[in-house]
Symmetry: C2
Subunit: 528 residues, 2 copies
């Protein structure tokens, strides 16, 4: 093709995924030596939790952060778990190839991107030229293997420096990882500790220890009951896009009908539901899916999104905390006067099921401030950075708290927990959740429900206060009234006083019982 000589043209090139993230470390949370250290610790801890609790193993996790010799910015991070281990042939890719992993399935896990630990490896090798050390063994394997490896950044493949294999002498299984990076521990100490603390709180079945130059903190498990592990599931039909349909059709055989596809590939869709949908949407259920063209697929995706007859997604892929555990958590950390929790039923966006949980604490040891104190969790990961960009913050800012009798400054804390097979994080650093409309709506409903409960509590407090005030007022005049009555009636003063006190007590009792109280108020209104 004719391109004239000497013309100003741009220079084009392609990057490997590893090159891309090497150039754009900030995107994955590795923006400076302090933050990189924080991010390294959390990526390793989250991998360890995924490798244990997801498979029914009570987690034992040890974290060590220590400077290497005299250089205080050269930090060794070591994390060991008792998880299911990484198979020997997968270790190189799992630690040395960006966009490779086991988390690309429909199931709630802390890890999702297949990126975090690779970023930690990358950051180590470019700041200290030290390879990652990995020791692992799976549960039934008879060997233990140790790798040292770098990432070949330009080609996005692992570069193995050494592999040692030896026989297992005991029943140890799990993974131990060691990295050396330039990190600033003093700047990020508080955050790391807070992260471990909040993790321990949301995973009370785990034993986690953190050893640093300042000493050791150990959180022992307070429960041996693991929550039901999440299972791998199917896409929910609402919000499935054209690409997903194309992929399913590509994989299917030529005899498959639309009815077959709908009733075998999607969550909660049987033949009856599929038939009803086809009728509603104007599709022939017996059409061979290989015959559908692009505009059919567009119509199908649109209709599937608009249809109201789908069942709510099943929650087998998810593992929410539940209202009881969430309330316990809030009581433990925040020690409020009042606490309530709401676990919403499962919902979905883009085919991904999710559950929103919200807890609301008021009073007690919660400090008064001009805005609610917000504690965010996603798939049991505490989110400590970037609150301002999070959907929960957006929802909280949009609520008129006066409706719920809350006037700031107030001692109000809100905990939000979004569980999903794919939490819509805004960045691969996993710090803020995007404002996907479905998720935003669920958070809003949950917070409002919790806030209504708080309002009832505050109203009750108000009423109790009113009753108390009434009691005090009446008691103040009791002697006077008894004396006057005694003078008029001739009945003994003490007797009258006892009688009046009894009447007052009964009246208070009646008013204090909430329902009776409401009746009294209603009667008063009616009788006007």
């Amino acid at each position: 093709m004719p391109v004239a000589k000497g013309e100003k043209l741009e220079k084009y090139e392609g990057l490997s995924p590893a090159q891309f993230f090497y150039r754009n470390k900030e995107i994955a949370g590795f923006s400076n030596p302090a933050r990189a250290l924080y991010q390294t610790v959390r990526e390793l801890v989250e991998n360890s939790l995924d490798a244990t609790e997801t498979y029914g193993i009570l987690p034992n996790i040890s974290v060590i952060v220590e400077p290497v010799n005299e250089d205080s910015e050269k930090i060794k991070v070591k994390v060991e778990d008792n998880g299911i281990g990484v198979p020997i042939k997968e270790v190189p890719n799992v630690f040395g190839k960006v966009f490779y992993g086991s988390k690309y399935v429909l199931r709630q896990t802390r890890g999702v991107f297949g990126l975090g630990v690779k970023m930690a490896v990358l950051y180590s090798q470019i700041t200290t030229a030290t390879p990652i050390y990995v020791k692992s063994s799976t549960q039934k394997s008879r060997i233990i293997y140790e790798y040292k490896l770098f990432i070949d950044i330009e080609r996005n493949i692992p570069f193995i420096l050494s592999l040692n294999v030896y026989k297992k002498k005991d029943s140890w299984h799990g993974t131990a990882v060691e990295l050396v990076l330039r990190g600033n521990f003093s700047q990020v100490k508080k955050r790391v500790e807070e992260y471990i603390k909040r993790t321990a709180l949301i995973a009370p079945y785990a034993t986690i220890s953190l050893k640093t130059p300042d000493g050791e903190i150990k959180f022992k498990r307070v429960s041996r009951k693991l929550p039901e592990p999440p299972k791998i599931g199917k896409y929910h039909p609402r919000g499935v896009d054209i690409e997903t349909l194309k992929r399913l059709i590509r994989k299917s055989n030529s005899k498959m009908t639309l009815l077959d596809l709908l009733s075998t590939s999607f969550d909660g869709v049987g033949r009856i539901t599929a038939e009803k949908f086809c009728e509603w949407a104007g599709f022939n259920p017996n059409i061979k899916i290989k015959k559908l063209n692009l505009s059919d697929l567009e119509k199908l995706a649109n209709k599937m999104r608009e249809y109201n007859g789908w069942r709510r997604p099943k929650s087998i892929t998810l593992s929410p905390l539940g209202e009881r555990l969430l309330k316990e958590g809030v009581k433990n950390i925040l020690k409020p006067e009042f606490v309530t929790a709401v676990t919403r039923p499962p919902s979905s966006y883009g085919g991904n099921p999710f559950i929103v949980e919200v807890a609301l604490g008021y009073g007690g040891e919660i400090p008064s401030s001009d805005a609610p104190l917000l504690l965010r969790f996603a798939n049991r990961i505490p989110l400590l950075y970037d609150e301002g960009a999070d959907v929960s913050k957006k929802v909280i800012n949009s609520i008129d708290w006066n409706i719920y009798k809350i006037k700031f400054p107030a001692p109000l804390a809100i905990v939000t927990h979004v569980c999903s097979t794919k939490v819509p994080f805004k960045g691969v650093g996993k710090e803020a959740i995007a404002d996907v409309p479905e998720v935003e709506k669920e958070i809003k409903i949950a917070i409002r429900e919790a806030a209504r409960r708080l309002k009832r509590h505050l109203s009750r407090i108000e009423k109790m206060f009113e009753i108390k005030r009434r009691e005090v007022t009446i008691k103040r005049y009791m002697n006077e009234v008894s004396r006057s009555l005694s003078y008029i009636s001739g009945i003994e003063e003490e007797k009258l006083k006892d009688l009046l006190l009894r009447i007052l007590k009964e009246d208070i009792k009646r008013r204090e019982s909430s329902k009776a109280g409401e009746k009294i108020v209603k009667k008063a209104i009616v009788s006007r």
Copy 2:
């Protein structure tokens, strides 16, 4: 290797970059139909600006957003520019391959990731099954070519549906792009308009029109003077990492010495600077670089970061607005009573030069609020989302404004502009800048400098106010005093009044001239 049967193991897989971003659209700003539409418009406009102003062409950009037939959520976006065009053989990859582009060089451009337009293509094809239409021609080419293409998501390669080539009849060059996606225009109308408006303001040499169902807005260029286009540069030696050193060494021949490497590969480093550095760092300048081992490279990278003798990075790769233009911009948008601007000298992080510019507006039409109004720009891109996660917000929150005589609520607006060959965006959606320490420090210095100027202005205002008050007071008693003086002296009352008025005027003049005012104050202090 022995892996026991029936063992619980995870399922591992790799993803292509296109698959990764298809699954994680939120990360690139495509979180919902409204946001996706906004993001599509801005990615296309930013590409158009890069293809014109970077090459000395005065930009003419037309943007059309319109619904396709009766479906109000099926939106066509069309953007055309008069830029340098994309060479015919590059079109497929530029629009159909994630991590491919022309922006991976050391030069300030709006685009950086080689991702934005591909995300728009991806979003179109998965929501409406419509391919992207691209028409382009380079400046000296005699042909125009039209492509229609999809992205093969699993393989991350373009899938070309059609290519038409025809002879050019006029001298047209540039690129026109058309996409059809599910988008919600009414929800995002204001943001799109604001984006175009702010873009026009920061690029006063561009003509940009926006046509929507609600009518056409056109911003004509107010200047034909293009800023000096940025040039492609070298890495700055401070903060270069081990990976960069390895890459440079791999590319060099076996005779190259450390002195050669330092004095040819880095910004602002000649042989003398390189020799001084080697002496300071304890390196033999004549060592062959191929002989350096990993621990040498670690030491070299550390020493290069610590060395204080490097020159400031050259700013040829950057294209800041400059204080004058920035002040003009602020005057035009915000109409403040007072405005000042600070353009900092170039600095660098991780080898990437950057310049911070800050403008500060006070009073006038700026509304009073509890916190400063913040307008953020990065490489002349207006940033409208995720303010809470931005480094500028962090800096502003950390400043004690009382020091600068500002008490909130106050009518204070702050504009920050970070120009860099690589702006450290927090996400590939390019909405917030990460808190890289070097950038944070520069923003802080610039805001403080601007705030000090504002303080001087406020002090002056205070003094002027004091002078005015004095004038009013004196004038109030002027008649009384003249009459009394006239009575005592026998001089005509009117004459005395004129004289007194003249003295007063001179006194005010002297006080108003700032320096004289200061002198008076100093005298007053000395004479005590």
